[in-house]
Symmetry: D2
């Protein structure tokens, strides 16, 4: 009953098999091997983007921070939701990689940027000329930190605003698969066809060991990315093992199947919680995370029965009156089982 | 009738005289001259801080950004008001000098941080351990960007919160003289006695040509400041001319007299505006800036009569119906005359 | 016959087995799992350093650049050999992570810093006070980029000079195992007992998939490292798989056996080259790399027979007269076989 | 008898007069005033460069570091002479402003880059692809730190090499006037006509209080400079006083007259030293600095008689045998008098 995060899960069998299979003989390092070439081709096909540049790194923070550094000058503003991972969970990596760009926080329900709020933020920034930071870029997260999802037309609504100001758009897709699984659209429809310039395409949370792809739809920007990646210490010498993971992940649509499974588990969990007396949801369950409000007594019961998850926000406590409502985040992954969900829901009974 | 900013004024006579007097013969460069030594002694006396380190730079942005870099690590949060100069008017200089610290914006009426909002912001930051930026420092502005003033006990209320979290405190005193002139307390009472660690002590806006002092009350931090100043290109070879300005500024309390005058002009302006039909104030006039709301027609009259000032915020326009209310910032300086104020008020009649 | 680099090899069986074994169930992320704890204990035991802080990252560049950032201020000089990896092969990663420290290049035969040259460099640096970069740290590489090795007393000779100036010392041990295998001393003797403060302990080149440990002998510096690692995007969520690699690598002394094997292969290769007509060595073969000079005709023969390695430096060419001497780097690894060495030598016959 | 540096001098009368004259009334701040406009026009005329962008800052380090940041990416190499001011005397400001570019040091007699050495350095850099820092820019100093001068054809020889690699060229002209006074060519001939892209045009050392112009011959780069200047804290609010200095400096060719005078003083000093028993020169005296070798006893005599200058390098001492030869730097300025030179030479008699 581990719902702490999708990153507490291990490596999906097909990914592990690919890693083992890749471990044969000597191959050129730093991405000049056949698997690294194959993954570039595979990703370009997947995204219907034959010109796209594709690079692999091992962490989502690296993918995001390098993408930001590619898209904005140091004196630029990065417009993102107040709850974006780049704002809340990366210890300032975007500021470090951009040499000091400023994250300008945009509001919006359920961790989705409100288009009007985004427009206001952009319009407001840089009005004072050189005295202010300048408009730099937009970064949106899909699926969001609240387990919600932007549909292609919602993405397009935001990227149109960005384009009005000639700003490039980054999508943090650490849980891109979960968004796609929910929406049923194509990868292209959710990205470049909707105006996204650079995508962090997550693998780690959805069954990989540690690999994320950065997909740069305009290849003119590729060379600079290579230098930034190396300079950040994110170029792997044995790059074949990043490539193998990603190839194993994508093979036969397994990545989407993993995501569909995780989303399904989340929906079952959410449905169960709504049946509990006092149970409610803070956000719609559109991907693999459930944000649930439950009486403290039930949380205590669950935890005592071995459930592992975070009260969200962190500053709540299991100590206190039983009937007070506490909110929590429960995350499902490719590895979550029906049994785990059932067992958890039983602890609330 | 120039109320655009206190920095459109020139150099006060006593400062210019000191510059001319300092231009005698060869003296050691980079601050090893007698005037540079004298200004250090003078500032220490003024602040009743015999151990303080005192450095001169030529711009307020340099003073602020170098101070921030001294007080926070790159992964630290700088808690400041949403309207602070370091947030709104320095093109990201604090982010540049700190190598990417994050400004966390605190609300509060009239550009003064609300203590509870500050406390909430600090408490919230860094709760996620190494995943978040860490608590770094607090920066407050006195007088504020809204022309208001923190009294010593208000400063102390904020610095106590900072101290609860072991955070150092910077005061942006680009208009410190105006605050002091309003409050009638001593420089020490408004700074280190109220818990301030480092002060940007403004000279430029109040009659100097281009000089600000950074007063570091704990001298253990001084050496690092010297290196950061040099590395930032802010160490003057002919430092005697920064020193001369500051000495001329301070001589005989002239700096405070300048500030008292500017504040007085602002109060007269404010009083006159309140008498105008449709005239009102957005913020209390406690220093040298007046934030006035007036019908567009009157703004147009004033501007056509030669008044020079900014509609505030910038996105308002003189084009439109006469009776709509527009807000504006009018700043007085040591050089503002009663005649200018009268003439301006007459344009509104 | 792949002698291009030790990083063209795959993953050693014992490391791959450990990775597979680690892939069981849910475990806490970001290093809070049992394997991550085990690797810390194991490394502390290995280094007889019960207080040491141990962190895992995935690349050598990350290990080195983060270590430098821990040990020097941005205005510090990093004293290193002219051929150090941090100078020549990291695209400025140390400059990026330190926010602009300056690498000051020290000469010395066979890629080992000459102690007197080091002393002169340190003495010279910072003499001009705040006008110069300051003395920051020393970084030495063991085994070196020339396939040579510093003995403990040679390390101590350099660290004593550093200590005379109160400078911390980093050792780039991307091939630490190869140095140790050559010297037969203990890890402690080659590091902290010889005055080293922080070690980049390589795994990748010697049989891992992608893992390096940073060993910080003074734990007071540990917390800052954690923040820098996260901020650099180098904290793995599924950290257990870095830990598993390192544990598998260390188990039963396999790491040293791998290194002994690689060194042995290099010595055989070197011996064979010396027997070739016109063959000579540029550097003593003390670790796993051979720097050989051979007539161009022989290089051509080898390459045509399928040998894969670099002419060193790069600007030489296989086109030209047969009898001209060209130098080359040939690197052996845990995966190099006697057959490969023999086959290569036969191509020269 | 102060020969310590040209920056121990004060402000030339014509510059001081211009400062006093500029102190009239309110004018727009941040360079929107008439004097700031006039200085741009004046400089463009002077350089026969009607499109050039011209910006004023207050220190040479700011001018140089901002210029470097404009011309190279963070992963670029800055090719400069081993004794360049940007390498030896700016505490790493170029590294700070560029976010970590690497200064690659080029040799050459008398502080002038040897063209072949420059070519070798550029050719060598970046050969390893993304593993190395990339070729970034060339920076040369005229007049040099050794008091020598590059003629236009010597500048062109270096810039042609840079152009072969598509690298932009910066000239550190902190003593540009002294070079020009020596050469008798036009400002254009020594800069853009010889292939220079950006010039730091010094004012401070040659009679200003603290002002340097950055002349950017390709205006496409101008906007970025403005943002970098503001972000570095180098935009003056009362910019008219930087402009006034520069206008006063340039008026009637006074700047060149100042430089001619300083050069003449240096030549007299050099001639006198050569007549002294045991006196010799380390570098040809082509600008305003004399590098002299004299017996220690004579240095002691001079210092005891009140002469003020530096032994060069710093690690020599006045303590020791009288007849040992010590080298020293003696710098003349616009303010050096024949009497001072004579008095100094008399102390050696």
């Amino acid at each position: 009953m581990d719902f702490a995060s999708d990153n507490t899960s291990g490596v999906a069998p097909q990914v592990m098999a690919a890693l083992n299979a890749a471990n044969e003989g000597h191959v050129p390092s730093y991405g000049a091997d056949a698997l690294s070439e194959a993954v570039r081709t595979k990703m370009r096909d997947l995204f219907e983007a034959p010109e796209a540049a594709v690079y692999l790194v091992a962490t989502g923070t690296a993918a995001n921070a390098l993408s930001c550094a590619l898209l904005t000058e140091p004196w630029g503003a990065i417009f993102c939701h107040r709850n974006a991972h780049i704002e809340e969970d990366e210890c300032g990596a975007p500021e470090f990689y951009t040499n000091g760009a400023k994250l300008v926080l945009v509001d919006g329900a359920h961790a989705k940027m409100d288009p009007e709020a985004l427009e206001r933020s952009i319009a407001h920034t840089g009005r004072g000329g050189i005295h202010n930071v300048q408009r730099g870029m937009v970064s949106l997260t899909n699926a969001t930190e609240a387990g919600t999802v932007y549909a292609p037309e919602e993405v397009a609504r935001l990227t149109e605003i960005a384009q009005d100001y000639a700003l490039p758009v980054h999508m943090d897709g650490a849980r891109f698969a979960n968004a796609l699984a929910r929406l049923g659209c194509t990868p292209a429809e959710l990205t470049w066809k909707a105006g996204v310039d650079v995508l962090s395409f997550g693998g780690t949370k959805n069954g990989c060991m540690g690999v994320e792809a950065v997909v740069i739809f305009d290849p003119a920007r590729a060379r600079e990315f290579e230098l930034r990646r190396k300079r950040g210490g994110h170029l792997f010498s044995k790059n074949r093992f990043l490539a193998a993971q990603m190839l194993g992940y994508l093979a036969g649509g397994g990545w989407l199947e993993n995501a569909r499974h995780a989303n399904r588990m989340a929906l079952r969990l959410a449905a169960g919680i709504l049946e509990v007396d006092g149970g409610s949801l803070l956000h719609p369950t559109e991907a693999n995370a459930v944000f649930a409000r439950l009486p403290r007594g039930l949380h205590r019961q669950a935890v005592e029965a071995g459930a592992y998850y975070y009260l969200w926000p962190f500053d709540q406590s299991l100590d206190g009156p039983d009937d007070e409502l506490l909110s929590a985040r429960l995350v499902c992954s490719w590895a979550t089982t029906d049994d785990e969900v059932d067992s958890f829901l039983e602890t609330l009974a």
